[in-house]
Amino acid sequence: MTLEGLRKLREEKQQALAQRDAGEGSIEVIIGMGTCGIAAGAKETFSAMVDEISRLRLGNVVVKQTGCMGLCASEPSVEVVVPGMPGVVYGKVDAAIGRRIVNSHIVKGELVGEYLFDKPAADIMK
């Protein structure tokens, strides 16, 4: 890749992110899948949420994995970013809670209070 190629790719990807933040892009579900998260059952949470989303035919939701969120006491942890809503981090999300989050937070826009842990840390990259 050339320098120009790298810069162009970065710009494209950053635009997509900006779109999401402006409330136009898709809903993101980010699941912490470091060793700790996986050990606590993040893989089951992942498949349950993907399954629930496809069952409800929600087209605009992206489920992705990420590394450790650092929340070891409350694994598996899941961040949900709905455009136009503050991003939040849920803790202790097993498969059933994952399905509840899809039905409540993503479909109805209502937070699942008992499992709400915090909002994400300030992002030094922004």
């Binding site: 700790c36 937070l111 209070g113 990259m125």
Partner: protein, 595 residues
């Protein structure tokens, strides 16, 4: 439909009893009256852990934190805060007052952190190079290759004040300078990912969550020091980290960001992964090099330092994972930016693995200079089960115990050293009143003795002798002379051991003698373990007046050493008792006594 604001109301048992139910009802009514029903959601949440000030109300996204909110306050919160955007100051939580409170504030696990090393951990998909690039990934490499000279890079590192995060805290720029200044075209860049401290896992998480940041930084070092070959030495017990590193390397090569003539320049760089078998001593740089070369993992005397004569006897820069992950940001934002974070002598942030008797165990990244109290109570949410804090062990088996009176010490390399501990790799194990310092120190010492490579006598023999002496104390046979001998031995080991392992093995012992002399002497003078953890100093007996002969304890005893019939007082056979405490837990009548 999406709400713009959330009003979180604690509905834990304590808050529920202080009328949080009515409060929620009133808030909902007021929100509806104000016509905000489509914009604001009132949410019942779990306990915020700050029950004495309940009910607690938190408004998102602005994080306003209200305490002792009464049902009658709902109207004001809605009318003032939600409608007009003016927080109700009389209900606001007074942060200044909170400092005086040793108890728990609200949970602010993320909000008190400054995440530089962990900037992408838990944010990007570690298997996606595109996501890394979108978050300014490889911007630093670009900058270095096209706009900076090797000296510029070293100068930025110097300004940043970055010191090695692996334990010793040696200035990173000086390592790089040494290697750069040695003539020759065959040099190596190494990443030390042999994380071995019990309870520390920040390196694993960084590699699992953001592998490209380490790769990028190693390439920057390659350019700066004139090397084209990098090696990551990682323990084989980290399969997921290895897998993600391999994926990251393959993708970077695919994009032409690693390999021959990177981004069309003359700079070429390749990275290889070497798996370690998990010996603690291989985290020591000369032992790590020996192991990478295929030899037995044993340290060598320094000098020569690896910066001059390292892997295959060539100049080698070795940095730890966390150090590497900090570097792209330093290059991007500049050394001055980084140096504004932290203390006079310790710049930037440090990741700590917070474990033990703590509510929010986890990985936290805070600026250097943050106090232990802030980490343990502010971020960690305090001690489990509301028990009393006893001590925190920083730096794993190479560190020491820090007691409660030093909770307000700002953490940096120098301050922790003054207290007889070290920052180390950043393990932070919290202990409560139920932990015995002698027992814990034995655990660490046992670990270090097991992991000693045996090359030098002070570590091999000294460590074993220290452990024997401590065992003597734990068994109730210790004497005052033993304590003196432990001290003498410790000082000898610190001075005469070949590498950091032996030099720091006595640290836990010395910290107990220094900070917990009373508890240690209690074991010696009265053959009594105040926390009841040293098995040979504990005795379980049954109070004949309280025992009703229900047989529960006898059935629960794993070695069947409790005798007695139904409705007859039971007796524990002391000669066979293994001091497991199962009878104590089982008895519902308080008849089992521990002394």
């Amino acid at each position: 439909m999406a709400y713009k604001q959330y009003v979180l109301v604690c509905s834990g048992t304590a808050c529920e009893s202080s009328k949080s139910k009515d409060l929620i009802q009133n808030l909902n009514d007021e929100v509806r009256k104000a016509g905000l029903a489509n914009d604001v959601q009132v949410v019942k949440t779990g306990c915020f852990g700050f029950c004495e000030k309940g009910p607690i109300v938190k408004v998102l996204p602005e994080e306003t934190f209200y305490v002792q909110v009464k049902p009658a306050d709902a109207a004001e919160i809605v009318a003032e805060h939600l409608v007009k955007g003016r927080p109700v100051s009389r209900l606001l939580y007074d942060a200044a007052q909170s400092k005086a409170h040793a108890k728990l504030e609200d949970i602010q696990f993320y909000q008190k952190q400054v995440r530089i090393v962990l900037r992408n951990c838990g944010v990007i998909d570690p298997d996606s190079i595109d996501e890394y690039i979108a978050r300014d990934g490889y911007v630093a490499l670009e900058k270095v290759l096209f706009e900076m000279s090797a000296d510029d890079v070293i100068n930025e590192l110097k300004k940043s004040g970055l010191r090695g995060r692996g334990g010793a805290g040696f200035p990173t720029w000086r390592k790089w300078q040494f290697t750069k200044d040695v003539p020759g075209d065959e040099k190596y860049i190494m990443c030390n990912a042999d994380e071995g401290d019990p309870g520390a896992y920040m390196d694993r998480s960084t590699l699992e969550g953001d592998p490209h940041s380490v790769l990028e930084a190693m390439m920057i070092a390659g350019f700066t020091c004139g090397s084209s070959k990098g090696v990551i030495y990682i323990r084989a017990e980290y399969p997921l980290a290895i897998e993600r590193l391999n994926t990251a390397i393959a993708k970077a090569k695919d994009y032409g960001l690693m390999g021959e003539k990177i981004l069309g320049t003359d700079f070429s760089f390749d990275i290889e992964i070497r798996l370690g078998a998990g010996a603690f001593v291989c985290g020591e740089e000369t032992a790590l090099i020996a192991s990478t070369e295929g030899g037995r993992g044993m340290p060598k005397p320094r000098p020569p330092f690896p910066a001059v004569k390292g892997l295959w006897n060539k100049p080698t820069v070795i940095n730890n994972v966390e150090t590497w992950a900090s570097i792209p940001v330093i290059i991007m934002r500049g050394g001055d930016w980084y140096a504004r974070i932290g203390t006079e002598t310790s710049k930037g942030t440090k990741v700590f693995a917070l474990t033990g008797k703590i509510n929010n165990s986890g990985l936290v990244e805070v600026p250097m200079g943050t106090t232990l109290r802030e980490i343990i109570y502010g971020i960690g949410g305090g001690i489990k089960g509301g028990k009393a804090f006893k001590a925190v062990q920083t730096g794993g088996p190479s560190g020491g115990l820090i007691p409660a009176q030093y909770l307000d010490t700002p953490i940096d390399y120098e301050n922790l050293q003054k207290l007889g501990s070290i920052v180390g790799s950043g393990g932070m194990i919290v202990m409560d009143e139920d932990d015995c310092v002698v027992d814990i120190t034995r655990f660490y010492l046992d670990f270090s003795v097991d992991e000693s490579c045996g090359k030098c006598a002070p570590c091999r023999i000294g460590g074993r002798t220290l452990l024997n002496l401590l065992d003597k104390v734990a068994n109730g046979n210790g004497t005052v002379a033993d304590v003196e001998q432990m001290q003498t031995l410790s000082h000898a080991m610190q001075r005469a051991s070949l590498c950091g392992l032996g030099q720091t093995t006595p640290n836990p012992v010395l910290s107990v003698i220094r900070h917990f002399k009373d508890e240690l002497m209690e074991h010696i003078d009265h053959k009594h373990c105040p926390a009841g953890k040293c098995k040979n100093l504990v005795r379980f007996t049954i109070d004949p007046d309280a025992c009703i002969g229900c047989t529960v304890c006898a059935r629960r005893c794993p070695v069947s050493c409790i005798s007695g019939e139904r409705k007859v007082v039971h007796v524990i056979d002391q000669s066979r008792c293994v001091k497991c405490g199962a009878c104590l837990e089982a008895c519902k009548f308080g008849a089992v006594l521990k002394s």
